[in-house]
């Protein structure tokens, strides 16, 4: 495995927490980023350390370029060069387009899309020099597919997929891979109140777990996925098949 650390944004709970735990199990020292849930991030770090891994909780708002600079500085001084990045931090602020507040449009785009630009831009510096890097963006099946009431969210995730593919092509010859996972309905606090009664529409007849998404991220970060880049791995129980 590469000598360096992984940053997982929005890792205090849900898919981010499961991903941080999975990467730590593969031997990555992990920076567990959070914006407001310090307790959740601390629990993730404790869980990783109890299993014999290394982790550091780092509070930073990744929608803010200064926050990103601080996040990387602290991760690098505490855990080493950043060679894996999982852009997982996300938010939703739903509403039908005519009623969608301008602030909610902007906030979702900044957190779900611009943040990935800020972190990726910074992460590529050490990755290009190391001739190795793994970037995984947590997108969604919403974006490539419509979901009424989520125009901002869909735009951000579709944008994230376009971003993923373009950056992948730019840096492929340096051993840096850039991919996305596109979860469907996953049981987390993020989807609380959304999943009831929807399982029947999913071919697998159940919603997914954060661990099932995390295991896909884990694969994309691994050495085994060295030739996989610019792709979107859908994790949705067949919902969008």
């Amino acid at each position: 495995m590469a000598e360096g650390c992984a940053i997982v944004t929005g890792a205090s709970r849900g898919i981010g927490a499961a991903t941080a735990t999975a990467l730590a199990a593969d031997g990555w020292p992990v920076a567990v980023n959070y914006r407001s849930d310090a307790d959740g991030a601390r629990e993730v770090v404790e869980r990783i350390e109890a299993a014999g891994g290394r982790a550091l909780a780092i509070g930073a708002d990744v929608a803010d370029p200064d926050g990103v600079a601080d996040l990387f500085e602290r991760a690098e001084s505490g855990l080493g060069s950043v060679l894996a990045l999982v852009n997982n931090a996300g938010m939703r602020a739903d509403g039908l387009t005519p009623q969608l507040a301008v602030e909610d449009w902007a906030a979702v785009l900044e957190t779900n899309l611009s943040a990935a630009f800020h972190t990726t831009r910074r992460a590529l510096k050490p990755m290009l020099r190391a001739r190795f890097g793994r970037i995984v963006n947590v997108a969604s099946i919403v974006g490539p597919r419509a979901n009424a009431g989520q125009a901002n969210y869909a735009a951000s995730k579709a944008g994230l997929i376009g971003f993923t593919k373009t950056v992948a092509v730019e840096v492929a010859r340096r051993g840096v891979t850039v991919n996305a996972v596109a979860p469907g309905l996953v049981e987390t606090r993020f989807t609380e109140g959304m999943t009831n009664g929807l399982a029947d529409a999913i071919p697998a007849r159940r919603v997914g777990t954060p661990e099932e998404v995390a295991s896909c991220v884990r694969f994309l970060v691994s050495e085994s996925a060295a030739y996989v880049t610019g792709t979107v791995l859908t994790v949705d129980g067949g919902l969008s098949a």
């Binding site: 510096k125 290009l128 020099r129 730019e170 840096v171 010859r173 340096r174």
Partner: protein, 81 residues
Amino acid sequence: MATQVNDEAVEKVILDGLEEIGAEGEISREATFESLDVDSLDLVELAQIVEDEFGVELDGDSVKDVKTAGDVIDLVVAKAS
């Protein structure tokens, strides 16, 4: 700590950096990036080497017109002074 910026130090870092990023042919101050088969991604990496060594940031705009290793050396020295 950042290396002291003078023409000689910058030349060494740039020429060594070009070798590190896999430039082809004879690396010299006069060599053009075209002759060295150095592309835009290589220049991004060279800019990173410069930033790591001298703390001088070379953004996209500032490197878009550079043609030779000497151009970059002059640019770094000018930016640092």
